[in-house]
């Protein structure tokens, strides 16, 4: 039963703590450097190196395979954003592509049995809060009064529910991504432990090292890993980007509708004044 004792499902390991302000609330008293942070730095480095390598020595006429790949990726990303958000949001393509790349590479780290930064809630909470701020910005852009008034629609009694609904957006986004990745890694951990117990039961009578070697762990987890690590991780990156685009573009539409309504009201008032003056 050694394998069961060795099996552990924990959060990110904490490497070190840097003291900041003694006795400050909200966790401001110390800066925690955890496994998730270090691994996400590795992901950021990887993505940056990939971008630099792909875009080195670009020419007007693509001569290298690298440049063709880079152009293909950029074109795909910008078409994807244009299709889903409209022409006016074409400048969003780099942000969405960066989000997708970070999420995909982070989730793919678990193939190498490294701690995926996306299986830490804090990483995804950061992205979801960023998206929430963007949504709120585009809603307020159409006018702060209209934004606040939209909470009392259709009747003012529903205000608390509307506020909860507004806060549920980032929470559901982060729990969706986190839950998918963590459930995959929990199942993979359980399967590795079960396979090592099974191989200890079957091959335990072999002498020495051969008796302890987990033969069943070779090859069998690949099938499940393909689904839980690769497919699920890439799908979640896609979904997160897709939802970001949908929420932001619908928020911008709401904001524009509010601004339009305000402009129409102002015009009507001016017309009325002109008519009264006449």
């Amino acid at each position: 039963m050694n394998a069961i004792e060795q099996m552990q499902i924990t959060g990110a390991k904490i490497y070190c703590e840097i003291p900041l302000i003694p006795g400050a609330p909200f966790g401001l008293d110390k800066l925690i450097i955890s496994e998730a942070q270090v691994n996400s730095w590795i992901v950021i480095l990887l993505v940056t190196i990939l971008c630099i390598v792909l875009t080195r020595g670009m020419k007007v006429r693509p001569a290298s395979r690298r440049q063709i790949i880079a152009e293909f990726l950029v074109e795909k990303a910008s078409n994807f954003v244009r299709e889903n958000m409209g022409e006016s949001f074409a400048s969003f393509a780099p942000f969405i592509a960066a989000l997708m790349a970070l999420s995909a590479f982070s989730s793919l780290m678990s193939i190498f049995r490294l701690y995926a930064p996306t299986s830490d809630l804090n990483t995804i909470a950061g992205w979801a809060i960023l998206v929430f701020f963007m949504i709120t910005y585009y809603k307020i852009k159409g006018g702060l009064g209209g934004y606040l008034k939209s909470f009392t629609q259709p009747i003012f009694i529903l205000t608390p529910f509307n506020i909860i609904g507004e806060l549920a957006t980032p929470i559901s986004m982060m729990f969706r991504h986190f839950g998918n990745i963590v459930s995959g890694s929990v199942i993979m951990t359980l399967i590795y432990a079960a396979l090592s117990v099974l191989s200890a039961a079957v091959f335990g009578w072999l002498p020495g090292f051969l008796g302890q070697f987990p033969f069943f762990q070779v090859g069998i987890p690949v099938v499940l890993s393909a689904y839980f690590d690769i497919f699920s991780g890439l799908l979640q990156a896609f979904i997160f980007a897709m939802l970001t685009m949908m929420y932001v573009s619908s928020a911008a539409e709401d904001g524009e509708a509010a601004a339009e309504a305000r402009r129409a009201k102002k015009l009507r008032r001016q017309n009325k004044k002109i008519i009264q003056e006449d």
Partner: protein, 87 residues
């Protein structure tokens, strides 16, 4: 000792009950995939868009199940530490 046992048993049972939330998304996603297969069978040329829409819908429908999963994780790994530290 008794209190520890009660807390551990309660969180384990609660985690099991929380995972009942997995039934709903299972049925829902199965239904969605069935409908997508029907649509592809009727119009094989729009397989790509049907598949991507279906995956998107499945991932969104999965959220309620994942809430249950997160609650189960909290009950298994957070609640015992929180209470047993105090007991």
């Amino acid at each position: 000792m008794m209190e520890n046992a009660i807390v551990l048993a309660g969180s384990a049972i609660g985690a099991g009950l929380a995972m009942i939330a997995g039934i709903g998304p299972g049925i829902g996603e199965g239904y969605a995939v069935g409908k997508a297969c029907e649509a592809i069978g009727r119009q094989p040329e729009c397989k790509g868009s049907v598949t991507s829409t279906m995956l998107m819908g499945c991932a969104v429908a999965e959220t309620t199940g994942l809430y249950g999963f997160v609650v189960a994780l909290l009950l298994l790994f957070v609640t015992p530490n929180m209470f047993l530290g105090k007991l």
